[in-house]
Amino acid sequence: MKPAPKHQRLVLVILAVAALIGAALLAMWGLSDRAAYFRTPQDIAAGRAQVGEPIRLGGMVKQGSIVRQPDGVSIAFVVTDGPADVPVRYRGIVPDLFKEGGGVVAEGRLERGNTFVADTILAKHDERYMPPQMGNIQAERQTRKTVAQ
């Protein structure tokens, strides 16, 4: 007995959808390196960034590293992902969420000597939300983990 045409069509459609999704996932997975929105201090330490090349640097603002310059608009701080650190210089206004122990993405260029000069500073937060009284202690412990991933 021949299968009903609608069954044939169903099997064809399911196969097509599966093949399509498989191909797309494979392509996306292959792209994962190039489609990364930012690079980490470990990438920089491993030499995966050219001096002068415009890149984004992401990580956590190291505790105690923010230094405000006397001119009032320049700051210096250190971006860390745990194993590696990159010092950053920036002139301008930072977002409200930019603080020590918080996530950050800096757009700019790497200078000789592996100092990063940022044109833009963005704050990156994680997926946890909690009321103020639950406090920052628990928060900062995990920010390190989230940002470095």
Binding site: V13, I21, M28, S32, L97, T120, R128
Partner: protein
Amino acid sequence: MHRFANPARFLKIARPATGWLLALGLVLSLTGMAGALFLIPPDYLQGETARILHIHVPAAWLGMGGWTGIAVSSIATIVWRHPLAGVAARAIAPVGATFAFLCLVTGSIWGRPTWGTWWEWDGRLTSMLVLLFLYLGYMALAAAEKERGPDGRAAAIFGIVGIVNLPIIHFSVQWWRTLHQGESIGVAGSSIAPSMLWPLPLTTLGFSALFGAIVLMRMRTELAETKVEMRLRRMATAA
């Protein structure tokens, strides 16, 4: 499967369902939004802006859920030649597109005070924008095809192909480093404190019910218009 192929049977259920979904949706979404605005505490880090989560997440869910509906209808169109499937897909498209757009806009308004930018080309934001363009493409294709005939094969194929974008949106925050944070709610639980989370099911259910009500309204509109057209044609040939 073809139980609802007869529009009369479909309408018998759709007529009362439209009103019920509309009422339920209005009550739930307004309650949820009021709770999100006035009753939950601010976030320890973001402050008041975290309240936007309670509308941004339902908008994202419905933007993606809408395309799932289009894809399922498209499969029903191609496999079973179900006569109502095309009507459903055409009814869903502009509604899903609106919610995808609302997701992008509320996200942008949220991003400015928290991240410090209205827009960044990261994996999550870009793939969501692609979804909006897919909707616009689908709507153009479906409209063009409807002019020519009721079959709608090309739009259905487009609806099925477009579904690959949904896992890309979902997993973008895992595959790539993105500015957008990871998922707050997954199978393992939620990383939102319960005292801040409770309006989310209300707004999600509420806007979903409104989505359903609007889709039913649009389906009923198209069915009524088709009825008028056919009757006029019959009257013209009889005369």
